[in-house]
Amino acid sequence: MANDVWALAEISNGKLAGISLQLASKAADLANQLGGSSAAVAMGTNTQAAAQELGDCGVKTVYASEGTVYDEYLVQPHVETLAALIQQHQPSLVLFGATNYGRDVAARLAARLGLGIEYNVGEVTLDGGNVVMTITAFGGSQSVKATFKGEGTRLLGARQNAFPTVRVGGSASVENVPAPAAPKQGAKLSGPFGAEGATAAGHLGKAPDGHDIWLPAVTTAKLEEAQIIVSGGRGVGGPAGFEQIEALATALGASMGASRAAVDAGWIPYERQVGQTGKTVKPTVYIACGISGAVQHKAGMGTSGLIIAINKDKEAPIFGFCDLGVVADLNVVVPQLTALVKQRRG
């Protein structure tokens, strides 16, 4: 209906991504403000459990479509289901995550149904009935306010952590939707592979092509929810250099992140990437080690509570947006810091 707001949940191999709850929370909030109803769409396996979580965040309805076809093919089955639901119910706004999954689904929907689409949205306000979005562009160097024009459902792609997860203790009514048949010309999916290295202790492992890669401990994962993050960049020097970064993170009870330079060099898996094309994080403290601080990195961590930077290069841009900048060799400072933190924490 005209004032309804939906959230596109993201489920992969039965696991609900955290951003789904942020989207559901915001959908419930915006629908309230607009005087409409809220819903979430959950496609994949284990959707009934997902529906409970989404309902907990305040959406009134969950359209649940259970089927393995969603895990077996890239996004085309999702688009079939979602396009039919949108045509049937005509929501005003559908929130999706500006993730790989969200972008691939929403782009096809926009192309198929002729919908307005915006992405990399960091804030949403309602100006009367108008949706006004704040978007970062040019790697975070420009902030743009934009709105939609024309009729029909609008697709709004939110950055990770743009909206908080708000658990209101609600429960959604679940409407089951049948899953479509496999696409005739689809992209068939299998995996994940190469995830065996994600164990309790971080260690040096081998990437599929044989090069060395630091496989971080699972205990330092969950960047989006972390209160403290220690990140490493090109200055770390190589995959083995992440051992000391992870040691500091572990001492602080922190998560470990990385810059794109380190991920692109193949030193550490993509899941750890902070920045414009990685994760957006908002910890209380962000410690950047050997990260020069390109605007693209800043776009992913610029709203952190406190930023501490350690870098040899006193001209590094990161010294322009930190609360404490240390111009020093991280190979000296990081191990000392780890030892001091361990001492204090006994």
């Binding site: 002729g114 689409i117 992405y119």
Partner: protein, 312 residues
Amino acid sequence: MLMMSIGQFDVKPAKAGFVAKCSEALRRGLSRPPSSSATHPTLSTNHNLEENPVKIVVCMKETPSTTVEKSFGPDMRIERRKEDAVINPFDEYTIEEGLRQQEKHAGSEVIALCMGPATATDNIRRALAMGADRGVLVTDPALAGSDAIGTARVLAAALKQIGFDLALFGSAAADAYGGVVPSAVAEFLGMPLLSFAGKLDIDGSTARIERQAEVGYQVAEASMPALVSVVKSINEPRYPSMKGIMQAKKKPIDTLTLANLGLDADTVGAAGAREEALSAEKVTAQRKGEIYMGNEGAADRIVAFLVEQKVL
């Protein structure tokens, strides 16, 4: 050339006629066939990996160099100066991957496709200097202000006309970082997209990728013709050689207009956009914190700072 991001336009059923169901006609292309197309085997032919020429279109966009100051005109479009326009850094990996596949599959053709202003030929020429065989520029005054979906509509129409086995894209462009164009093009063409490829293999008539995942990777595969978007870890782009630059001067660049593609001006450009920018401002660094110089005592200073801030 293009507006920031922003939008989409109505797909009216009557105008969606070009949405291709992938067909032999599509694969072969409708326009000026390249010289190699006569020998180009159809996909139904059972050909071996090593003797498997593929027709590859690499899609590229001009973006303002990431180091220049950005400014917006009164129409809220980024002011794009010719001298600041570079190949979108993500697309250099796209071009490189096309060339590497050509090296693996003898007889393959690599075509660089770009939508942009007439001056974009300079950057297409750079792709040709890297080694692409020929270029196609889609340019038309009515394209100014296109949003991502409008851009995708134009690229889909051009790809349909050129014909291809494999169309390669960067996973985003270094302006709006939308990353939605490849998937929208795939939808307009009714084809699969193998997205976020960190590795690409062509095996007979199948394209197979290792897809960047949260942890590890997934494997995705599709029958060709298909679309692939690549991430930067897939390769290391080459620099054009002097010889390449000289050869590029003689390579053909065809120009296509909206009329050539059979598209209506009101479905693309600013007219077709479904979003509008209201204002823009430069994001400035707001933090000028304390700077501590030197290794000596640095760790102590950080601990003291964390204690002051009640983190430790």
